[in-house]
Amino acid sequence: MTRRNIETLVGLFVLIGFVAIGYLALKAANLAAMTVGETYVVTARFDNIGGLKPRAPVKSAGVTVGRVASISLDGKTFQGLVTMELEKRYAFPKDTSASILTAGLLGDQYVGLNPGGEDENLAAGDTIKMTQSAVVLENLIGQMLYNRAAESGGEAKK
């Protein structure tokens, strides 16, 4: 085989390899849909962040508008401090509330933003005041059991 033929075949091999890497990055990992635009940082304190993880999506009306950048514990208030990066093209009113929601029954948790009605918008570094913690399944079950017990107790009295 001539040198030129071998070089052509190797070129083809390398090309197929790069196409495969590109396929994995674009089709499997969806590089194109990742937040690449400019972002601004907003923080929020939650009493309980549940199973929220860094890089979880931040959604408003179901549309992904940003990502969770980091999670830490606020040493003073003992609340979970969630730092979020929101896309610059989306602005939210100052009285927007944040809640930690779950996608489906067993799905991943994400931050949901509920816009308020104020004229002024959240700026970089602002803190979202109104937050709603993650729903912890054990607490829910505990509450349900408690209610059941209270109900049956009431019936017994009658």
């Binding site: 083809l12 091999f13 196409v19 495969a20 890497i21 994995l24 499997a28 990992a29 849909a33 990742m34």
Partner: protein, 263 residues
Amino acid sequence: MSFADLLPRLGRWAIGYLFRLGHAAFFLVELLKNTPASLRRFYLVVAQIHAIGNYSVVIIAASGLAVGFVLGLQGYYTLSRYGASESLGLLVALSLVRELGPVVTALLFAGRAGTSLTAEIGLMKAGEQLAAMELMAIDPKQRVLAPRLLGGIIAMPLLAAMFSAVGIFGGYVVGVLMIGIDPGQFWSQMQSGVDVWDDVGNGIIKSFVFGVTCTFVALLEGYEANATPEGVAQATTRTVVISSLAVLLLDFVLTAVMFSTPR
């Protein structure tokens, strides 16, 4: 045999083992020192990529497709028990990109390319071609071994990426076309769960490390083979055994470093 006899034996075994390990490390350093020179004559590397990479494409693609099929079937069987069969795309893609792609490619590579490297260099040594080169003041490490090392290192990540891509296609064929999972769910679950750097990138780093390991083991065994037919045969066997074990153990270490800490 008394205990006093056993202890020196153990010591001799340990020293011999460490000696071989150190020898291998020096050999690797010497090979790496020679790689810049082979970059200057890049055609030698290109020819090796052709021998190592191009001829492995068919076996890699065929195994990738088969592994993708099996992942699709087995994954569906388990996931459907939990009513999560839409996550099949995520399961197939993550297991391929993170683990199976790099590891199975490396194992196939050891069997397909590693053996031929060892046999080739072992026979060159047995035929005294390497000695003849040295007589002509050509360093066989520079002319013969370094281009092969580079070729293997370049070919392996590309082969692993092909394996994963074909495997995902195989999972798609079984999951969507045969079983009938919704294609939109299949792809969207995959895309929301697979990260470009954490999953795809780490998989490529893994296959790069395996490329160095497999090629290096093959070259070392060939170069150190006894210059007899039996010696070459034993060296070829050792190549497969050592590189397979090294790949599996290294994979555990790399996985522990890359994926065990929550992001």
